[in-house]
Amino acid sequence: MNATPSLSDAHKRTVRLLSYEDGLWDLLLGVVFLLLAIYPLTRARLGPGWNLALFLGLLLLATAIFSALRRRISTPRLGYVQGRVTPEKKLILATTVALVALTAGLVLLTLANPGWLGGPAPSPSPATLWSYPVELLVLLALIVLFSLMGYRFGVPRLYLYGWLLGGANLASVILYRGAPVGFNGPLAAAAGIILLIGGALFVRMLRRYPVRDVEA
């Protein structure tokens, strides 16, 4: 038991237990970035419109599956909580949604690679890191977003996720410079690592929190 508990610690513990203990959030994140990794490949075959529809459809399906898993598997083990909505929480939610939308938009933009983005022109001399301003912005946005979440909720692995995903996005752009992008290897590798962590956490949750029959 913590000798000097505080309301902030209690809040962090509540959020951690509710959202990050079962690894489902990590699994969903891994699936989203795995879909983004195959996005250029399917785009080349389906065209931009159908590909976006496929991406959004799979995203909705994944979200529905993970919600069902949380309701049927995690909640009977971890317990049920209904959060309190305060003006401060509304502000945090709005900021998070805006940051997530901005980051997702930037990631999609770099994957779609439209002509007007003005990436480094193929040249015999190697480009410097500063030749990729949009990718650096994505890296920064992901690091800031995940670090803020990790700090606020006391979940250290989120710091790693920011570097992993931002770095993978930058690495893929540098690796595939000038070449038509197919399967995005670095992003798939980052998503794979997150999926492994999420899977391990999910198994740990199943073992640590058995379903209980008795109620207090």
């Binding site: 038991m1 309301l7 513990r13 317990g79 909580v81 959060g83 929190y209 008795v214």
Partner: protein
């Protein structure tokens, strides 16, 4: 002299602290409920790492004091006990925090 008087007053206030809230396990339950609208007993059990018996006994004391509302119902076919902080419970936590902060203030700190 005036500083001594202030310290003595702080210690006297500490003596009058709400003992229902002051017990560590009950304080933990109250603090978890403070940040949410409602939670079930299973969640409190996992969050506090108390045993069912301990949790049940502390929740009964909090309910008797009027700090916590207990709602016994069902989630599907399984029984579910929902708990939420009452207005009096929220005020008790706020008062407790203020009392402890004032009483444990370092000498010389503003």
């Amino acid at each position: 002299m005036a500083k001594d008087r202030t310290q003595a007053q702080g210690l006297r206030e500490l003596g009058g602290v709400d003992r229902v809230v002051h017990e560590p396990a009950r304080l933990m339950i109250l603090m978890i409920l403070y940040g949410v609208r409602e939670a079930d007993a299973l969640f409190l059990l996992n969050a506090t790492e108390l045993t069912w018996g301990n949790l049940s006994s502390h929740v009964s004391k909090l309910e008797e004091a009027g700090y916590v509302e207990v709602d016994k119902g069902f989630a599907g076919k399984k029984p579910r006990t929902m708990l939420r902080l009452t207005g009096a419970g929220r005020r008790a936590v706020d008062d407790y925090r203020a009392t402890m902060q004032a009483a444990l203030k370092k000498p010389g700190a503003r």
